[in-house]
Each structure stands twice: as structure tokens, then as C-alpha cells.
Symmetry: C2
């Protein structure tokens, strides 16, 4: 079973920490940030897929994670903007190329991105121009799941207000995002309620774990401040666990199907009719 996710957002929004927390292990080591003399301000994003083997209650999952450090950091962000879109397109082009071969390539690997987690900075205001433009361009090509990065920056009321404003913006600017679809006619009560609940949480508030402490027989993944402890797996603190379950377990297949049956097909039609 394989699955590919892309993580997009400005540097320092906790993307690497999120992936480590999602995979419950060190995928992106913390001490990797280049020192002042080694840091070059590239006008480009380094797009590097990393493979992680996960075991989810006995189910083996081969997860490919595409991180995009450098997005949104520059004075002028158009170059990295286009690079990320080019990456998504290339995976589609590779499949299109492979599809049309007479003699199949047995070693071909399908690297299409099944879900793109877009990290919204917790400003407390609204979506920025960069967020709107980017999600609009990317939406037709990949399932976008908007998340609020470093959600522990927002107090309870600020989080409610910010989520509400982001939802209004997503609708106002007609930004296509993955909507946890359900069929009123076909699906059972439980499925409908589950999807309605997930839809109501968008954008998902996430917090990445800085430490893991043990209390009795409980493992608590958290961030510890002088004024208290934020618990990543506590649904009263953020939507991390809910998102993880939807992404890697309950909605994995739907995300792959939509990518293959809808997003790829639209791309293919668009490409072949020009």
C-alpha cells in the first residue's frame, strides 16, 4: 500500500516537525538547518521526496513525503511558486508518458501526489495573497487539505474566529479543496456524519510534538512551555489526531481515487486537447 503527500508552506511553520509527528519517528532531523555561513538564499525550492515505511495497526504503508522548504521566504516568491506546480505536473506527465508506451516499463513508479497539506500561518487575520494564489493554482491538480500551522499560537476564541474567516475566504476566492465528499443517497448514516464532522474542522489545526514524556503507562507527545503543556494528541488542543486518521487510514483510498479518476483525468484531457 503506498501513498504520497506533499507539505507546502513557508519555512519555520513546523512542516518537518509535523511529518516527524505524523510518522512517529525522525524523518527530517532537527539539527539540519544550515549555519549563517552555509545558508544561501536560493530563489528555488528544494523539492525532495522522502520515503517512510509505516505500520498502522498491522497495515504496512509506504509513505512518500514531499517537503518544500523555502516556499514563501523570498522577497519575490514567483520562482518557487512555479517550481512546485511544475513538480506536480511532472508526475502527471510521467504517468501519461508511461500510459502511452507500447512496451511497459516494469520499474515505473507512480509518484503522483495524493494530498497536499497547505500550511497556513496562524496570523489570526485571513488568507494572504500568496495563500490564495497558490491554492487556486494547485487546487485543480491535487487534493488540497488546508491546515493551520503552529495552532498553539492561537487562543481558543482566536482559533474559532480564524477558522471561520479562512472558510469564508476559501469560498469567496473559489479555492478548490478536498471536501471529504459523501453521498446522501448512497452512504450510511455513520459515514455521512463522519464526513460532515471532518468537513466542519477545515482548516485543521495542527501542532507538532517537540518532546515525548511518559506519565505512568501513557506516552504524551507535547510542547512544554513555562505556562503549561500542549498535548498534540489531545483533541481539545488541536485536530492532529483526527487529521492523521483521515489522511492515513479512513480517507487514504478516496484521496488516491480522486487523484487517479478525476484530477489526473482532467490534466490528461487538458494536455491531449492542445
Amino acid at each position: 500500500l503506498n501513498f504520497s503527500i506533499m507539505i507546502v508552506g513557508a519555512s519555520g511553520l513546523g512542516k518537518s516537525t509535523f511529518v516527524n509527528t505524523l510518522c512517529d519517528g525522525v524523518v527530517f532531523p532537527k539539527k539540519d538547518y544550515p549555519s549563517s555561513d552555509k545558508l544561501t538564499f536560493e530563489k528555488t525550492v528544494v523539492i525532495t521526496p522522502v520515503n517512510v515505511e509505516l505500520d498502522l495497526d498491522g497495515v504496512k504503508l509506504s509513505l512518500s513525503v514531499v517537503d518544500t522548504p523555502g516556499f514563501g521566504d523570498n522577497i519575490n516568491n514567483e520562482a518557487c511558486f512555479n517550481q512546485i506546480i511544475a513538480y506536480i505536473d511532472k508526475q502527471f506527465d510521467d504517468v501519461l508518458g508511461e500510459e502511452s508506451r507500447i512496451k511497459r516499463n516494469p520499474k515505473f513508479i507512480d509518484n503522483r501526489v495524493h494530498a497536499c497539506l497547505y500550511f497556513i500561518p496562524p496570523t489570526g487575520h485571513a488568507l494572504r495573497e500568496l495563500d490564495i494564489e497558490f491554492m487556486r493554482k494547485l487546487g485543480p491538480k491535487v487534493n488540497i487539505i488546508p491546515v493551520i500551522a503552529k495552532a498553539d499560537t492561537l487562543s481558543p476564541q482566536e482559533l474559532i474566529d480564524f477558522k471561520k474567516r479562512v472558510v469564508e475566504d476559501l469560498s469567496y476566492y473559489k479555492i478548490p479543496t478536498y471536501s471529504f465528499p459523501y453521498d446522501e443517497e448512497e452512504d450510511d448514516e455513520e459515514t455521512i456524519e463522519e464526513n460532515q464532522h471532518l468537513r466542519s474542522l477545515i482548516p485543521f489545526s495542527i501542532i507538532g510534538a517537540d518532546e515525548t514524556i511518559t506519565e505512568g503507562n501513557r506516552r504524551i507527545r507535547c510542547r512544554q512551555y513555562q505556562w503549561g503543556r500542549v498535548e498534540v494528541d489531545n483533541p481539545l488542543h488541536c485536530d492532529f489526531d483526527t487529521l492523521r486518521h483521515a489522511l492515513l487510514i479512513s480517507h487514504l483510498n478516496d484521496l488516491k481515487e480522486i487523484t487517479n479518476d478525476v484530477l489526473y483525468e482532467n490534466y490528461r484531457t487538458e494536455k491531449l486537447s492542445h
Copy 2:
């Protein structure tokens, strides 16, 4: 007694809240953010000085605050970059113009900026290209005091590491900032220690108050989370009080003198010799 400060940083870094907390009153009302249908993505920064009358233990201070909403928000930030620099230059040009008049203008108001608080986003990594470029250009024209915005985003160890990295970057990229200068020969022991202490705190960690609660006869300005309460005036939580005291009381005169005797003079010499 008058004093002019400029607040620079991306939208949503808590600049308005900081000013309200600094002045202990509502200077920038919270509900002013435009709704989706009213928000236009201007390529410009709206630079609007606001005047606040403060009473600091009986000393009356006429504070002029220049906020810069919109800085760093766009896909391409060069336009607002230049606008802020143009504003600083204009205040110098006005004084230069007034200085060279034969017949003085009795209504002339000196609006030169005495201190610029530069809000660094709490990424936990290092200064971004935008921060470096901007502070480098601005440093020769105004006293820059770098601060870490929304410092409650950082855990105790992350704050220590981030401050250390920012100090290394400020030095490596030769960014001129206000250094709380002292004279080993001339100043007394207490003054030297006070300035060394202030210098050691750069960049100052700041947190803006979201609410004010009363406990007994104590007024506690804070941000309340599900996991605890952050206290703005608690030096164990952030440097807000220390910065406020330096800015509005102990170092106000030094900041004005440096602006007049050094920064303005350099600008004047540069301008008149071309």
C-alpha cells in the same frame, strides 16, 4: 516630550496588539480587519502615523506610532520595502529643508523616527532574506531594535537557540542595530551593567496582551490558552516590560540624540555631497 517609533513586520505578527499593550489602551482597534469582499491586495504599505498621549509616572509623553501593515505579505515585496525607506527619508528631507530656510516655519513638526522595532517571525530557524535585506537598508537611517514577535510560540529552549542564531546572523550579515551603548571610562557601574544586560537580551522577546484579568488587587495582562496563561508583564515569560522601560523611559533620550546627532547628520552629509 515627544518620541516617534515605527513598527515594521508582516501582517499578523501582533504589531497592533503590541502598540495597544505598550500604551496600555486601544490605539489600533481589534475589529478593523477588512472582510473578504473589502480586502484588496495592495502592492503598497499604508504608512499612517498615529499620536498617543501617554502619562509615565507623571511624565507626559507625546508618542507618535508609525505602523506598517502589509509589509512582507505579497508575492513580491519590493514595492512596500521601498515605500518604508522613502518614508524615513522624507522625514529627514523635511528637516533638511526646514534647516536651510531663511524664514523658519513656526508650525514645523519634526517627524523623524527615533526607533524602529523590527518584528522577526518566531520561525525557530534564522533571519530570512527579507529580514536581512530590509534591516541592512534601514539600519543606517534609523535605530533598529529587533524583536521576536509572538514569542509565546517558542518553548524556553527554542527561544534561547533562536535568540542565539539571530545574534549570529545580525553580526554575520553586518546589520546595524541600536546597541544600548555605554562608555567603559565615563559611565558608572550601574549604567554599564544596565546596558550590558539590555544588550544581552537582543532580540527582545515580546508578547502582546489579549486580555486583562484582575486577581485580588493585581491587574494581569495575559493570553489565556487551554493549557495555561501567558503573562505579558512577567519577565520569566518575555522581555516586554524590560523593552518598554528602555524604550519609553531610560533610553528615550539616547535614541533621540543618536537620531539627531548621528543618523540625521550622516544622511545630510550624504545628501549634500551629491
